[in-house]
């Protein structure tokens, strides 16, 4: 499935980028003569018919050759790969933050359903869901960097630098995790096997982690898996706000500059990340739900 997805992604990127105008003009000035432009076009390979360009592009993509950045003069894939770990680091931290915040919030509002705790948790979740990433980011900078001077507003390198961007990106995601946790925990708690668990004398805490969470996890993991692309999407904003040296922010600039090779390489790597994550989620699934694990072997 992953190769197929990647070809699809590459195709869409290729044609959509071609729709945005002739890239040759980026390299020319108003004084350039038509001959110069033509020479440049030939040099860069933009003179060939579109299908030929497409085939060549695909063949190169297989060996991760997306060409040289039109702006930096370096292989695009190198530029992207150099920034990729930073994005990955941010995304993983944000995911951990969102689970660390979202799951307890969801669990509390499910377990204390209808009480003031439920209202508090649900309200915060609603705000988290509604607040735009850039607003949360700016507010956090305002409070923790400008007022309290506790954490750096931009840059990277230390754990301190990681905190604000992770929370910014994670907060948006945490709301989603909290909402789905609440719903699925409530649903599982209605099940008869929860009564059975209590009837054999299971303590409440054990009921929660062994019976409720283990079953609710299936839905929660699904939602987290489905949301990975929007996490990467949110990274664009978080990276821009905090000047985080990752792929997402870098690609936004590449799009403005119509730096095709970089955009293509960037999208390729990000889509690949998403596809691999989905695979991981699927594998995780089989671990969580025995019916999927054994379904194909037995029956």
């Amino acid at each position: 499935m992953i190769p197929l997805t990647m070809v699809g992604v590459l195709t869409i990127v290729f044609f959509v980028l071609r729709l945005s105008g002739d890239p040759v003009y980026l390299f020319t000035t108003q004084e350039s003569t038509p001959e110069e432009i033509e020479m440049l076009r030939e040099e860069l390979g933009f003179n060939k018919p579109l299908p030929i360009q497409y085939i060549r592009y695909l063949r190169r993509a297989v060996v991760l050759d997306f060409g040289t950045s039109l702006r930096y003069g370096e292989p695009a894939i190198n530029l992207i790969l150099a920034r990729w770990p930073a994005t990955l680091q941010l995304a993983v931290c944000a995911l951990l933050v969102s689970i660390a915040i979202g799951l307890p919030f969801g669990a509390i509002s499910a377990l204390k359903r209808g009480t003031i705790w439920d209202t508090i948790c649900s309200t915060i979740t609603l705000i988290g869901q509604g607040a735009p990433v850039f607003w949360i980011g700016i507010m956090l900078i305002l409070i923790f960097s400008v007022r309290l001077r506790l954490l750096p507003a931009t840059g990277s390198g230390t754990l301190k630098h990681l905190i604000l961007p992770s929370i910014t990106l994670g907060a948006f995601f945490a709301a989603r995790v909290a909402r789905i946790s609440r719903t699925s925990i409530l649903e599982v708690m209605q099940k008869k096997y929860i009564v059975t668990a209590r009837a054999i004398g299971t303590k409440e805490l054990r009921v929660l982690y062994l019976h409720v969470l283990k079953n609710a996890a299936i839905a929660i993991v699904t939602i987290i898996g489905l949301s990975i692309p929007s996490l990467i999407g949110g990274a664009v904003m978080a990276e821009s706000i905090f000047n985080w040296p990752g792929v997402a922010g870098f690609m936004v600039n590449a799009v403005y500059n119509r730096d095709y090779p970089v955009v293509q390489a960037g999208i390729f790597i990000l889509s690949f990340t998403v596809a691999v994550t989905n695979l991981v989620v699927d594998v995780l699934y089989t671990y969580l739900d025995p019916q999927i694990r054994l379904g194909s072997q037995k029956v």
Partner: protein, 329 residues
């Protein structure tokens, strides 16, 4: 003289809902001797399950309101013990088998894991020992290939098998009291008969007391010593099983017996349904709750609730009428 294992006095259970207060169980009193088997019979929603689940605090806490003069199990006051102590009793001293085996087992845990769980929770055995005990119980409830079944998940088993697993799970700690809450309702008739035979056999072997809840008098007949008949949250008649079948007193019991379909017999009589439907538990009528559907109804029935009267040592009935003579008592 046998000793009383369970004694419930004036149990009342109400459910608080948006539409009002549902009086699910009203002034229910019963007791159970050690080793005795009691059946609780009545139609759906008459409070059979609630009157038993409430003893173990298994009803949703935010909805159910339980009041009682006494709930005593052996020497323990179940009404006032701490939740922690209640957890220690559940599954070890009092076990329950539920109605729906398809939904009562945790789908993501193996059968073995779930069978060992009561022993582990109640610290009655270490992992290895618990495993052996689980295997022993699976054999006892006649599941073939118990070793292999231990690694199965519930979805890999049929309803009858799952109910056997539930029975094994409920017996694994050697409980003194087993509560069977319509354990055969969701199963087909042959499997139903197998499960009943199994419980009978296990009871004979292990000697625990039994409360069997059912809406089917036929099932109860061969299984228990004594029967409580419930209607709209109250006990209307209580008798030894033979007395109940041969000399039923309450009009509701009589109607229930008349509505059992009979396969054999020369009479080929028509099935006699009980006309009408039970009263709305949100809005109970003044007098006798069965009055609207009763064939013997008199004026007094609609005005005042009949007290439960003693007919002999083992027979009680809540009716204004002597249905054997059709006279008001």
């Amino acid at each position: 003289m046998s000793e009383t294992i369970l004694s419930v006095k004036n149990l009342n259970v109400q459910f608080i809902t948006k539409r009002g207060i549902i009086k699910a169980v009203q002034d229910v009193s019963y007791s159970l001797e050690k080793g005795e088997a009691v059946g609780i019979v009545g139609e759906s929603g008459c409070g059979k399950s609630v009157s038993v689940l409430s003893l173990l605090r298994l009803l949703p806490e935010n909805l159910a309101r339980i009041k009682s003069d006494e709930i005593r199990f052996c020497d323990t006051d179940l009404l006032h013990i701490a939740n922690k102590d209640m957890q220690n009793i559940r599954g070890s001293k009092i076990s329950i088998i539920f109605q729906d085996p398809m939904a009562s087992l945790n789908p993501v845990l193996t059968i073995g894991r779930q069978l060992r769980e009561p022993l582990i929770i109640h610290r009655m055995a270490k992992a290895k020992e618990a495993n052996n005990k689980a295997l022993e119980l699976l054999r006892m409830v006649q599941i073939p290939d118990p070793e292999e079944r231990m690694n199965n998940y519930p979805y890999e088993m049929s309803g009858g098998m799952r109910q056997r697993v539930m029975i094994a799970m409920s017996l694994i700690c050697n409980p003194e009291l087993l509560i069977a809450d319509e354990p055969t309702t969701a199963l087909d008739v042959t499997v139903q008969a197998q499960i009943i035979d199994l419980v009978k056999e296990l009871r004979r072997r292990l000697g625990m007391s039994l409360i069997w809840i059912s809406h089917d008098l036929g099932i109860i007949a061969g299984l228990v010593n004594r029967v409580l008949v419930m209607y709209a949250g109250t006990i209307v008649e209580e008798a030894l099983v033979d007395d109940l079948f041969y000399t039923p007193r309450h009009p509701y019991t009589r109607a229930l017996l008349a509505s059992i379909p009979q396969a054999e017999g020369q009479l080929k009589r028509k099935l006699q349904p009980i006309r009408g439907s039970p009263p709305d538990l949100l809005n109970l009528p003044r007098g006798c709750l069965f009055a609207e559907r009763c064939n013997y109804v008199k004026d007094v029935c609609r005005k005042e609730k009949p007290p439960i009267r003693r007919i002999n040592d083992n027979h009680r009935c809540a009716c204004w009428m002597d249905t054997t003579t059709s006279e008001v008592l």
